[in-house]
Symmetry: D2
Subunit: 311 residues, 4 copies
């Protein structure tokens, strides 16, 4: 990706496979990347929320970055999450990602401390000076960071060349649509709007979003590629049918017993269990201290894969 | 502090002074520590929420730890926050803090990812193996980490020797009281319960809490020491009068224009402005990207210090 | 509407016009109804959230019901909100609405007291015995009542003939889509799914929703009818363009100074001001104790109407 | 109570006993009132949250009011909740309460619609014109109505004679303490501050609150009277011991299976089950559509009553 190309299409946020000893499983990660490339994805995003980036040590993050850049080998852009509590800490991750040779970075607002839009603006502005020519995307994920990124701030940062677009995981369709309209009315070009809401992709593409960063795309990249292609071709019926199938596949995240584990563990554990059952990765563990799915839960995911036509 | 001593009294969570270039100002930090020791505090807590620990790079954290351990020189215990998104990342901070020679550590639940009590239990259990003989306190601060630490989990971790107590910044008086009652009914000894709610300290001490970690204690350590001493001596009227005075002093956090900055910036900026006006630190800046108080706001804090008898 | 007809199309939730003395302005209400019928709406919904039903006395509610039933005169179905804190209180409103001759009723979950799905199920089941043959719709509006109505409960109530459909004002597109899929998979017929999210109607219609209950439809019923007709005809581009125009028109709710009034007052005040400027109603007051828009705010709505082509 | 007397002491919010057919059980209500008077309470509060006032029809409310006024017969003040969604609806309840001869009324902010402090101010101001010489208390219960009543608004309404005090069920000790300090600094007299937080009464009385409105006081009025008397006499140790005992008694609300019912049902059901087991009321049903405690749950409350010395 050169910095003049605008991000578009399907860019799954890759999970990070672990060994039973909680080391990064580079062989499984390489297979996952090949599975994605074979599926036809337009990019991969590592060290995001699905990638459990906030769980990893700096050393583990480095392994993920190097493995991914090497395995992808320039076939599609590699995006890296640089998500941390403050500008200084995210900036350190950003420098490491640049050194590893990624094509773009993705940063949230600061968190833990309560923040204000003026502070978030300073955060992205400072990070942009570190990123230099490498595109940076703002990652809007209020349930995790406690702040919603406003459309007006995003457009303003885009106009000043500080960000190259937004990954919207707010789940707020109205605000996403406002961002699309505001981009149009501002005449802003080269500014990508990607949705992280994997269950409403046909709708988002129909009202002008450029692509999707689907966690479920780990398990079924081809499905999302077919959905995107149908929507791009103006075939709304096929896009909807594909989305509906993926909607049902997403029910794998409801298999785990939520009285035993958190929501993140249940969802990411299901994605990893799916990849494990499909033979892509060797071990379905999620990052410590997440509670893993048990054998029965993993087995219960199999029929849901079958129903979706995944074998 | 040996690990048999139970934490008690006034343990302010020290702010981290910066230079105008956002370096840690070690000279100001040293003066702040002397101001606290002169005020009669029973310990100091660095790299907590008030210490802006989540804003600092690993290198800056190291400077704070080394400066503090050297300046305190064993006169009171030094507690260090090891607050980060995951067990692995908090564990790295913990190791660094041990190496720097702190007397105890303070850890929150993991955050950013959604967590479950069973996962939080694994988090503290793993951290305790790193801490070894150094006491670890659980830091309950749901507005920042999205999870409330239950009394039953805290007591259970205490009984198994995993934590040496709790710092409660939940602001939920009923749950704090339950923790005190549950500790009593469990016959649990050597387990400290400290409140982080600086405006209701007399109440908390009256129902059995052991001490306080007051952000406002940065500005007025002697006031909190007098409050604690009065409460310990059973002089409820004096304790209440001191608390009421400190309640009004806390209004310094309302001086900053909240349409310009976040809640953290307004509160910590006020503490630092107070210390700056009292001549303790050289520069009132809060961590980047926090918006600083302007000159007018800093000036407006002076009369509130005067009213509280601080010169 | 007979109870075999399924609700569909555009069914605006009518505002309740007041005189300057806060009486129901029946002449303005009659004009509003004619404005809607001329606009081509498929039904009208009175005493809902936009209708400020929870502000009105029983006597005022009666005036609204009787005026509406008389003015509509059977041309389209009249739906009436029977929204109150408990089953007994909603039931009394329901009886009154039946007596006034409405065609259907709309009920939320109980509120003020915290409720449980099993209790909500009993609530609707009891209300259905009062409604008899008159269709009842469940109104899902979690920000107001504190509870989300689950798809499984809604489908179950539909299968048992207790409700004839759902009005979804949850703003949660994923859950709305799940309801549509669950209806399909259950083979449930005669069960209407209407969205109350007036800014994403083209999307909702595209994935299978039957119609819309748009607050903004008070001001521009023809626009929503054109949007619905285009979507029904499979003309996604026209539907989207109409939705985008209405999205911008909705900005009238941002005109009022939110430091002076609540969100409800700002939104409903804008709808009423629009109708006042268009000559449909005589007075833009919202229900007491809502703060009204001032003259400057009302004037600022005029150019937004002009931009949307409303004169 | 004349309007010059300031409310103080223990004023339990009475539950409303029902027959198995969900009629108000006036005989049980009369026995409950005698149980309270014998316990030494300083007033009774009917039709509040514990009284399930928002569940009752206007006719049932009338029965409660008349029964209570007759049974109390002037021995202590009778307060009546006039809680409803709007000023007009609360005003109708207020008029009915006045006609029934209550001594004071208690009103929340409006709810369902989002409100603003300026609107809440108009709400109380209008209600005061209906109340006339009868004292009105503002009821601060943000979890139910979605709005926090600020200390500044409450003090301002007190200074203008609009409210005679506040019942604080916010559970926010800091804001309650601020109200007490603001009252003192304003020199405001004849303005009662009552806490609805039944588990921290000794603390609240120690920092200047005038009394308590304890839901648990339905079951153990004498306990709260002893607690109040000890606190008034400056015997903090006895007050704390009594509060600790009541804290443990409050565990009766945890007996019910929360996967079957809502929080309100579990708590009120426990209070009613306690009264039923103590022979005060005939039937432990909560208002429809609340799920009732089952026999096993009711039986499990017995040992908790025994442990607290209630037989």
């Amino acid at each position: 990706m050169t910095d003049s190309a605008q991000l578009t299409g399907v860019v799954p946020p890759l999970v990070t496979p672990f060994t039973p000893e909680y080391d990064v499983d580079t062989a499984s990660l390489a297979r996952l990347i090949q599975y994605q490339l074979t599926g036809g994805v337009d990019g991969v995003f590592v060290l995001g929320t699905s990638g459990e980036g906030t769980f990893l040590t700096d050393e583990q993050r480095q392994v993920v970055l190097e493995t991914t850049v090497a395995e992808v080998a320039g076939q599609v852009p590699v995006l890296a999450g640089v998500i941390d509590t403050s500008t200084a800490r995210a900036g350190a991750h950003l420098s490491a990602a640049l050194k590893a040779g990624v094509d773009a970075v993705v940063a949230t607002a600061p968190f833990y401390a309560a923040t204000h839009p003026a502070e978030i603006e300073q955060h992205f502005t400072r990070l942009a000076t570190i990123a230099g020519d490498v595109p940076m995307y703002a990652y809007d994920i209020p349930p995790r960071v406690g702040t919603k990124l406003s459309s007006s701030l995003m457009i303003s940062l885009g106009e000043r060349g500080i960000i190259a677009g937004v990954k919207d995981s707010s789940g707020q369709e109205t605000s996403l649509r406002q961002l699309v309209l505001d981009r149009r009315d501002a005449g802003l070009t080269g500014f990508a709007i990607m949705t992280g809401s994997e269950l409403t992709v046909d709708s988002a593409l129909a009202f002008g979003v450029d692509g999707v960063v689907p966690g479920l795309g780990n398990v079924d990249p081809s499905g999302y590629v077919r959905l995107f292609d149908a929507a791009s071709a103006g075939d709304a019926a096929t896009a909807r049918a594909e989305q509906d199938r993926l909607f049902r596949l997403f029910e794998i995240i409801t298999v785990a017993d939520r009285s035993r584990m958190g929501a993140s563990s249940a969802a990411l554990g299901a994605f990893k269990a799916g990849l494990y059952l499909l033979g892509v990765i060797d071990c379905p563990l999620t990052a410590f201290p997440s509670i893993p799915l048990n054998d029965g839960e993993i087995a219960a995911i199999r029929p849901l894969l079958d129903r979706a036509g995944l074998h």
